[in-house]
Subunit: 209 residues, 2 copies
Amino acid sequence: MGITICIVEDLDEVREGLKQFISLNTEFNVLDTFSTAEEALNEIPKLKPQIVIMDISLPGMNGIECIRQVKDKSPITQFMMFTVYENDEKVFEALKAGASGYLLKNTGLVQMIEALKELHNGGSPMSANIARKLVTVFRDKEKEAAPIEVLSKRENEVLQLLSKGLLYKEISDQLSISTGTVRQHIHRIYEKLHVQNRTEALNKAFGKN
Amino acid sequence: MGITICIVEDLDEVREGLKQFISLNTEFNVLDTFSTAEEALNEIPKLKPQIVIMDISLPGMNGIECIRQVKDKSPITQFMMFTVYENDEKVFEALKAGASGYLLKNTGLVQMIEALKELHNGGSPMSANIARKLVTVFRDKEKEAAPIEVLSKRENEVLQLLSKGLLYKEISDQLSISTGTVRQHIHRIYEKLHVQNRTEALNKAFGKN
DNA sequence: TTCCGCCTCTAACTTTCGTTCTATTGCACG
DNA sequence: CGTGCAATAGAACGAAAGTTAGAGGCGGAA
């Protein structure tokens, strides 16, 4: 019976256009379409489609909130955003809420079909601009491990081990130095970072505040 | 003169096939191709192409390390991974190193052309499977700050203050309880999280591992 | 060369942390 | 109306953490 789909979109032409075009493809089966989040919230949990194509801007409840509530009641359903919103906040909110795909409305219908197949195969098809946003935040978050400028090389090594929760003894073993030296390094680290203890140092060194 | 491109790929057929096909499109200009990272490292900084298509598995230095070194010397260049590697580690390493696009080798040549244009327009075209990995880690990272389930309400409050680096005394003052009680709470927290000290508890409670 | 920062080490010391044990109160659930 | 759990508390103790005050070697910069 093909991949089951629901569409939530308030603009009549877009909603019907999508439905018509997708229905041409025998691999898909459009179960129903909705023009408001509230309707969708009522019906989708009963239909349990494999994919929901979701707009963000809807009258009343928006599409993101709709995803949050629907996915609890229909966990097998995957959500494909289909919207004009390209600003970071909306994108990240949608992904956090549970969307797996994110296409902008300038996407062609043929690509939409491809994307729906990929989504169903466990992929996350998304417009290249959206993916770039993800890559950017990913890189920003991952580059934490950068050494702190004001600290010497050795002090940064110590700080790294300190962040794992190791004891002075364990640190001294790993670096093959005495615990006295470890003490010394850590003391200097606290001095340079203007903090009083381990936790404050880690907060200051690695984000979190 | 079109978008300038270099290709780094050790398999002759793949490299030449790419070059031929891309050259058919007048919007692109393939400046040169290389079969090893070392060659690429020498030449690309001189050519400063707008895009480099990069394989990961190469004889000698791998493609990821190659990106790290090249992008310092040619910062305008964008990197499009083109590889069979689909495991998380390689993907994330590549993105961290500076790749902006990531296509798997089952991608069609026509889609490659599309992807190159998108990359040049500031997007991050990537295979849907790759994007899914990114979405997954993104969601995992964002869902922090929630109180830890296994801990009681009070224990979470204590943990919160603990994370600021406060002394037992300071915590007891803020919560208007005795330091003995604070001790007790913290002891239970360590027990429930299976850790031995403050830093380990914070690492386990708030991401970082 | 002299000076300074980094890395190393020792020793003695105070403070804080973390464990263990014991005990009381209050609330919720069957 | 017990039973269980969260929250409270104090005491006592060992184990770490953090401070202070030395001192020597080494390499780069003034």
